[in-house]
Every structure is written in C-alpha cells, then in structure tokens.
C-alpha cells in the first residue's frame, strides 16, 4: 500500500495514515505536490514504522485505525525527541467537540472532522509545512 520512496534524507515527506483506501486516495490526490513526497500507511503499526524511518515533516493521522490508534501514535511522537519537528493533523470520523479538545490537548496541530473539505485540508497542510 505504501508508496515507498527512495530515502535520500533531503526530501520532505508527508505521511497519510488511514485504513480506508478511498480516504488515502482522496487525501493523496488533494495534497499531491512537487514540494514533498507523499507516503501512505494503512494501519497504525505501519504508520509508526514509517514515521520512525522517514521522520516526515507532517503526518495526516486517522484516529481510529487497526493496530496503534492515531492518538497512541500522536503520544509516541510527542514523547520522542527525534520527532520534535513532526507536525500532526488528526482526521477523524468522531466529530464531538470533546474529541477535538482531546486531540488538540494531546498536541495535534490541527483537527479535521470527516467529512472535510479537501481544499481546507490542502490549506492546513501548506500552513503546517510553511509553504
């Protein structure tokens, strides 16, 4: 599932982690850009492995995934000093205000409730990457 990029470290990586293939396709299509390399993970464990390996600048993280949940991955990122530069946008089908608050409190840079506008997502991605 993951489009494994070659690993010269100078490249900027953006990771999409979502267990729904249609969502990965949507997000990938939306944020496709020459400025960074998009990689994908289809579950939490794969996502965590790719984060540690590629140290992406930005992770678009589904909250409910098999394996590690998005919230667990977020906590792991925040605990790991080598991942201090990683920005995180949570994408979730849980739309309660309390979910948003919990996500932001855990250190997410932004929180998008499904369904979201792809154009808004793109704007948030560019903002997070400082483009």
């Amino acid at each position: 599932m993951a489009r494994r990029a070659p690993a010269p470290p100078a490249v900027t990586f953006v990771l999409i982690a979502d267990d729904e293939s249609s969502m990965r396709l949507l997000v990938h299509t939306t944020i496709e850009s020459d400025s960074y390399q998009v990689i994908e993970a289809a579950d939490g464990d794969e996502a965590w492995a790719l984060i540690k390996r590629y140290k992406p600048s930005l992770v678009l993280l589904d909250v409910q995934m098999p394996g590690r949940t998005g919230m667990e991955i977020l906590a792991s990122i925040k605990r790991d000093p080598s991942l201090r530069a990683v920005r995180v946008i949570l994408m979730t089908a849980r739309a309660l205000e309390s979910d948003r608050t919990a996500g932001m409190a855990a250190g997410a840079d932004f929180y998008l409730a499904k369904p979201f506008s792809p154009l808004e997502l793109l704007a948030r991605v560019q903002e997070a990457l400082g483009l």
């Binding site: 249609s22 969502m23 396709l25 299509t29 098999p66 089908a93 849980r94 499904k114 369904p115 506008s117």
Partner: protein, 618 residues
C-alpha cells in the same frame, strides 16, 4: 362429741362413696370389681350391675394392660396410695383421661384383700393443656417476634422469634420496657394501644423500624393487638413483628435493576447513534471530498473515471449501511413482520445458492441429510440469512475455496452450516461476531468492506423465529463455519381447507385472511416444492390456489401434477400477473384448473368467493 357407732360409720362411709363426684371402684385381690359407685357409672357409662364381678381389665386400653399388674405389684409390696394419670376406655369405646389414686384394702388383720381406686375424669383439663402447649409451641417456633407487654410497656412474654429478630434473650428482656427496642420518632406499641381504645380497632398493622441489640436498625412489619382479661378489660398489648429488611432490600434491588436495564437500553441506543454517525462519516468523506475535487480541479479522463468509481462504491456502501441500520432498527424494535409458514428448506437453500451466482474460485456445494422435515419459518427473511452467510463465506475467502452448505436434523431443529475454506477466525473473536457493528480487524481482513451489521441482522432474524446462530473456526487460515437453526413443523399431516401456493408473503397473508373471514382454514406454502411436500405428507385440501411465477418449480408444472397428488379433483384457482396466451389458458384448463384470475386489486376476494362457491356445490 360422742363417737359414732361402727354401724353409723359404715353407713356414713357408704353415703360418702355414693355421693362422691369421683368414681370410686373397689376390687378384690384378683382385680374383680366388688363396688362401683354412681360417679363410676357417670365416668365409664356402665351401670353397677353390668360390671360387678367382672375383672377390671376390660376398662384398660390394650396398650396399657400391664399397668394394672405394675400398680398392684407396688401396692402388694406395701407401698402407699399410688397416684398417676392414665387413659381408660369408656363404654362407648372412646378414650378418657383419668387421674387415679390406688390404695390397698386391708382386712381386720391388716392383710391386703383388694384395692380401691378413686378416679377423676381429666379429659377436659388434658385438652386445655394440650391446646395451651400447642399455642406455646406455635408462638415459640414462630419466626416472627411475638412479645406480650403490660399497659406500661413492661415485657411479659418474649418468644424465640423475638430473640432471633431483636438479638436479646428472653431472660434479658422479661420485665424490661418495650421502649428499649423503639428508635426515636417511631411509634410505640403501648401508645398505639392507647389510641386504639378510642377507635375500637382490634389490631393495627404497619411498617416501621426497630433497633436490635447490636444497634442495627431493622425494617419490620408490625401488628399490635390489645390483650384483654377474662372480663374484656385491656390489660396489655401484643406486638408481632416480621423482619422485612431483606424483603425491602430485595425490592430496592429490583427497582434498581429495572432502572439499570432502562439505562442500558438507552445507553445502547446512544452507542448505536454514535457508531452509525461514525460509520456514515467515512464513506461520506470520500464522496464529498472527491465531488469537491472534481468540481474544483482539472483531471485526466483516467483519473476522473477512477474517482467516480470510488464515489460510486462509497455511495453504495452508504446505501447498504443505511438499509442495514434501518433493518436492524426494525428488528430491535420487535417489528419483525414474520409470516411463518411450512417451507422445504432444501429448495430454499438451492434458491439462495442460485441467487448467489457463479464464482468459479468459490463454488458452493450443497449436501443435505436426506429428506428433512418441513421447517416452520418466514421464508423471505431466512432466504436473506442464507444469502448473507453465503456472501460472507465468499467475501472472506480472498484466495478462493469451496463453500459447503450442509443440513442436519438435531432434536426438533434443522441445523444449516455454511463452511468456507477462507481466512478463519481466532477463537477469542467468535463470541463477539454477532454484535452490532463488530468487525474483526486483523490484517488480512482489513481490505474487506462491510457494515458490521450483517451477522447482527442474521442473529436477530434467526432468534425471532426460535433458532440460534453460532460461529466456529479452527483458527486463522483454517476457514470458518457459520451455523443457524430453524424449528421444524410439528409432525403429522398439516390439515387445512385451502392450500395456497404463493411466494409473496404479503399477498399470501391477504388470501389467508379472506378464507378465515369465510370460515375456512388455509395454509400457505411459499413454493411449489413445499406444497408438494405438504400434499405428500397427507394434507388433503379441499381447494388449491396457486401462483404461476414461483421461485423453483413453476406453477404450471405444479398444477399439472396436482391430479395425482390430491386424488379426486378439487377446485384449483390460478392467480397470476402473467399475460397468458389462449393456448396457455387451455393447457391450464386441460390439467383441471377451475379458473385463472389476474393478480390485481380485489383478486383475493374474487378468488376466495370462487372457491367458497365451488365448495358449496359439492
């Protein structure tokens, strides 16, 4: 005073004996009766002339015959008068309780020549004693605390129940004041009695609290009654208390349990709403997201087709989800519109297999255990259950493999197993599979889409018809087996006036109602196979109504074979939406069809009237 002469003394003694209230009986040394006074006659019913000269033994009950010898022995040995209580036989055969005094009679030389017995009837006293003892035993053995007290509240009786309920012994409480048991602010027995004096009530019962010796408060149901002396003057109160602490606790527990179950239902509803909204958001996100992208950006034709394909899939997924949610909602609300009818399960399975279509990688084989009895089911919904299990078996066999459907008869139920050679299931997942929205999320299953409702729907349908569902697997990679059960039709031929062969359960029910309204019984078979089975098993309908478009064997074939199965010709009415050509109509007439009616408004009444008229002609 001058001493009486011997003669006068004897006369006086004789008068005393004659006028005594006690029976006085004299016997010689051989126990032969020598004297018998009037009181003895009153006591035993025998006149003196009946008994004089007879051995006294006839007055003794058989089990007390040795008593006589024992007493005489003691008297002979020089003992003084013997006092004892015993039983004797009355002339009428009844047993009487008597108190006896047996004394020796001596001659002038002091030799014992006989005995005298003075006897008193104590039957009444014995009875009173027995009643009192019984009462005491009842009071003592009662589980209720029964307390007697004076008008000042001083305790005069304290039974074992009171010891148990209040924790104090009788010794500790006799003479103590009842106030010792009454928590502040609770009614006191003696005050209640004082109040009752005015209202002339006999007892008063209510629930209150009392305090035990250990300080614990207990809930009691209390009954207070006045105690009167023989002149009817109230001299005290009795207090009967039953410990209802446990009873009250149980009542509270029941109320709490009821509340909990109401809350659980409401929580389950909340959970359902939250799950549904979550499940809806994901396909909606793809659908809306791609719509927005297609609307705002240029894409190649290939990309457009890819995205539209995703949208179509996600849109269908949404529709499935909504249908399943509505379905399960209906099932949970108990609104299952079940139309139970006898059904040939093998025909039903074959139909489900045909509907599942051909998949060369995942062929479905059916193996049934000979002739199964008819099942009593709602065919439409059981067909759906079968379709669902078959679809799952294929869905979770990504690498292909045979799918095997088997049936068995086990204790009045038919079991249907759908076995695949697919992904299999870990043992700990098996019990959770039938829960609403539950999906197994192991790596190899993640790509397989589903609403998480299919098995939950199956379970509800099967259980509503008296069956059970279960899942079995030897583990991941070893395939899965899903089983459900359905009840069989009670043995013996099904008897009814009219046999209706109609796969549309709604229309079938309308027809049934028409016949019931006309005083006829009707049984519906959902397909021709079931109808043929019913006929073979001895159903002798007086008329048949058949549809032509049926799921398996067609109506034309069914009615053509009818003659050989029903024996003498019965009226047969065909109801169909088919536009029949003249040669088709005459073919039906040739095989004995009475009438062919179009399926349209009013068709059920028309068909029922026709059949009633045909039956009336017989």
């Amino acid at each position: 005073m001058r001493p009486l002469s011997d003669e006068r003394q004897l006369l006086l003694a004789a008068m005393l004996v004659a006028s005594s209230d006690d029976a006085i009986i004299g016997k010689d040394y051989q126990s032969v009766i020598t004297s018998w006074n009037p009181a003895a006659q009153r006591l035993y019913g025998y006149a003196a002339e009946e008994v004089l000269g007879r051995n006294i033994a006839f007055l003794l009950p058989p089990d007390r015959l040795n008593e006589l010898e024992a007493v005489l022995g003691r008297v002979a040995a020089g003992a003084d008068a013997q006092h004892y209580e015993t039983k004797r036989l009355h002339k009428d055969g009844s047993l009487i309780d008597v108190a006896m005094t047996v004394s020796p009679i001596r001659d002038l030389s002091g030799r014992i020549v006989g005995t005298s017995t003075i006897q008193r009837n104590i039957t009444q006293r014995k009875k009173t004693e027995t009643v009192a003892a019984e009462m005491a035993a009842i009071v003592d053995s009662s589980n209720d605390a029964i307390i007697g007290m004076t008008l000042e509240g001083l305790i005069t009786t304290w039974n074992r129940g009171a010891e148990h309920i209040y924790g104090y012994t009788a010794r500790a409480m006799l003479g103590k004041n009842i106030l010792l048991l009454v928590p502040p602010g609770r009614p006191v027995e003696i005050d209640i009695i004082a109040g009752m004096l005015a209202s002339s009530a006999r007892t008063e019962s209510f629930e209150t609290q009392r305090q035990r010796q250990d300080g614990r408060l207990i809930d009691v149901s209390l009954t207070v009654s006045p105690i009167r002396d023989s002149d009817g003057v109230i001299v005290g109160a009795s207090s009967v208390a039953r410990d209802i602490t446990e009873h009250n606790a149980m009542r509270a527990e029941l109320a709490a349990a009821e509340l909990r179950s109401v809350l659980a239902v409401s929580r389950a509803k909340d959970e359902m709403v939250s799950l549904v909204s979550h499940e809806l958001r994901t396909p909606l996100a793809s659908l809306l997201g791609f719509t927005e992208l297609l609307y705002s950006r240029e894409f190649t034709e290939e990309q457009r087709r890819q995205y539209l394909g995703v949208m179509l899939r996600e849109g269908r997924r949404l529709t499935d989800l909504i249908n399943d949610v509505l379905h399960i909602q209906r099932l949970e609300a108990g609104h299952q519109d079940l139309n139970l009818a006898p059904a040939d399960l093998e025909a039903l399975i074959q139909r489900a297999v045909n509907a599942a279509g051909v998949d060369v990688l995942r062929p479905i084989q059916v193996r049934t255990s000979g002739q199964l009895p008819l099942a009593m089911i709602d065919t439409d919904s059981i067909l759906q259950v079968l379709a669902n299990f078959l679809a799952n078996a294929r869905k979770y066999s990504p690498d292909g493999g045979d799918i095997l459907v088997t049936t068995n008869l086990v204790g009045g139920m038919i079991t249907i197993d759908v076995q695949d050679a697919g992904l299999g299931l870990p043992a700990d997942e098996l019990p959770k599979l039938f829960a609403t929205f539950y999906r197994v999320e192991s790596g190899d299953r993640r790509l397989i889409k589903g609403t998480g409702l299919g098995l939950a729907i199956n379970r509800r349908i099967v259980e509503a018809q008296g069956g059970e569902v279960s899942a079995h697997s030897d583990g991941p990679g070893k395939g899965s087996r899903f089983q459900f059960t359905v009840p069989v039709v009670e043995p013996g031929p099904k008897v009814a006036d009219v046999l209706i062969v109609e796969d549309d359960s709604g229309f079938g029910r309308l027809l049934q109602e028409q016949f019931v309204a006309r005083g006829l019984t009707a049984v519906r078979a959902a397909d021709a196979e079931t109808a043929q089975r019913l006929l073979k098993e001895g159903m002798k309908p007086r008329a048949v109504i058949s549809d032509l478009l049926l799921p398996g064997v067609q109506g034309e074939e069914f009615v053509a074979r009818l003659g050989s199965e029903t024996g003498p010709a019965v009226p047969v009415v065909v109801l169909t939406v088919k536009q029949l050509a003249p040669h088709e109509l005459s073919a039906l007439e040739k095989v004995g069809v009475t009438a062919v009616l179009p399926k349209e408004a009013g068709a059920t009444q028309a068909a029922a009237s026709l059949i009633v008229a045909a039956l009336a002609k017989e």
